[in-house]
Amino acid sequence: MTKPGKDVDKRERIVTRIARELRDGFYVNLGIGMPTLIANHVPQGMEVILQSENGMLGIGPYPVEGEIDPDLINAGKETVSEMAGTSYFSSADSFAMIRGGHVDLSVLGAMEVDESGNLANWMIPGKMVKGMGGAMDLVAGARRVVVAMEHTTKDGAPKILKKCTLPLTGLKVVDTIVTEMAYIRVTERGLVLEEVAPGLTAEDVQRATEARLVVSEGLKGMES
């Protein structure tokens, strides 16, 4: 039952679960990579405005061939389109909006998260440092920070730790961790396991996690 699924299946489960956190009228920043896929799962009839930290509110889908505009890209430098009601602004205005707590939700990937809600996702000592981009500002400023990541490394080592070992992106910034195995909330009393993926038990999740998990009294199956 606990046979690891393919990466695509894992990602799909993570992405669809996080999409259920969206609310009508939310302004949301989706990080580069897996979080971007959440845009494909906004529930019908719900209006969610996507923020791009390079200076845009209202990211639309990728353009059709022929409507590509080099002046219209997202923070991953991919060509995008605009929705009705889009606005553009400078990088300073963009981060004022982020730092000022006006963005409801930020979803981003992680290399490590720990039980205090510390996040590491930008630097591995000894390897070339590419830069933190806007990640430090997003986690410090967004009203709610959700981490989207696979539960363990490719080698099966835990990524949810007692204490992060890599250089931090932010201190006590994570609110929720969503993996292919579980939905976990960061609280004052530690990491609370709220949902487990179908076919798994709380013990299975704990075995793949270094930090101690507090099993919620209302523990339930993870919906997608």
Binding site: N54, V64, P70, I73, E78, S90, A92, M128, A140, P167
Partner: protein
């Protein structure tokens, strides 16, 4: 008032060795292509550049890197540039990485006469090392200082002879703040128009910040990641 110069080469005539230069753009979007090419032709050395990215190999700031003109680069993300990586590892260039919101605000502060400010970004990380912190309403903030430059190279969609600028879509990015934070701001525009042709209510960068302006000769407008959808999206 007429700030128009004939060419990119004339616009950068006094960019000497050791200059500190801000360059607008996010990735390759909204970069001052013509000014960068002119700077490669001029060959000024020992430059410090401030730009969100460092271009890619063979375009944008990447051209200045390849020509060996840079001593130091300050930016937020340089993942697309292999040449920079090898130069950093070989100790041939100094690289300072700054959180993007802090970078943009430091530039804004530089143009606005604010020497320092407090931000929550980077508290408890290596970015905070050696910096003053203070508590406000129970939360810890980090002091960051302004950034200023000798020259700012900005790229706009339209500009008039007085130096008023209008940017287009996400090509705006860092250009407006950089235009305010240098001793000499040089704007290259895709369309140069007469004073009065731009709606004064819709100007992004008012003329006071711009010292020189010209219409760029060539815009490659290269796309870094060409992503398309096949048909209409499902809603």
């Amino acid at each position: 008032m007429n700030k128009v110069v004939a060419s990119a080469d004339e616009a950068i005539r006094d960019v000497g060795d050791g200059s500190v230069i801000m360059l607008g753009g996010f990735g390759l979007c909204g970069i001052p292509e013509n000014l960068i090419r002119a700077l490669v032709r001029k060959g000024s050395k020992n430059l410090t550049t401030m730009s969100n990215n460092a271009g890619v190999d063979g375009l944008g700031v990447g051209l200045l890197l390849a020509a060996g003109q840079l001593r130091r680069h300050i930016g937020t993300y340089v993942g697309e540039n292999k040449l920079l990586e090898s130069m950093v590892l070989a100790g041939k260039i100094e690289l300072d990485l700054v959180p993007q919101g802090t970078f943009s605000e430091r530039i804004r502060a530089g143009g606005a006469g604010i020497p320092a400010f407090f931000t929550p970004t980077g508290v408890g990380t290596i970015v905070a090392e050696g910096k003053e912190t203070r508590e406000f309403e129970g939360r810890t903030y980090l002091m960051e200082r302004w950034l200023k430059a000798d020259f700012a190279f900005v790229r706009a969609w339209k500009g008039d002879r007085m130096g008023n600028l209008v940017y287009r879509k996400t090509a705006r990015n860092f250009n407006p703040m950089m235009a305010t934070a240098a001793k000499v701001t040089i704007a290259e525009v895709e369309h140069l128009v007469e004073a009065g042709e731009l709606d004064g209510d819709l100007i992004h960068t008012p003329s006071v910040y711009v010292k020189r302006i010209f219409q760029g000769e060539l815009y490659e407008r290269r796309i870094e990641k060409r992503t398309v959808r096949k048909s209409e999206p499902s809603t």
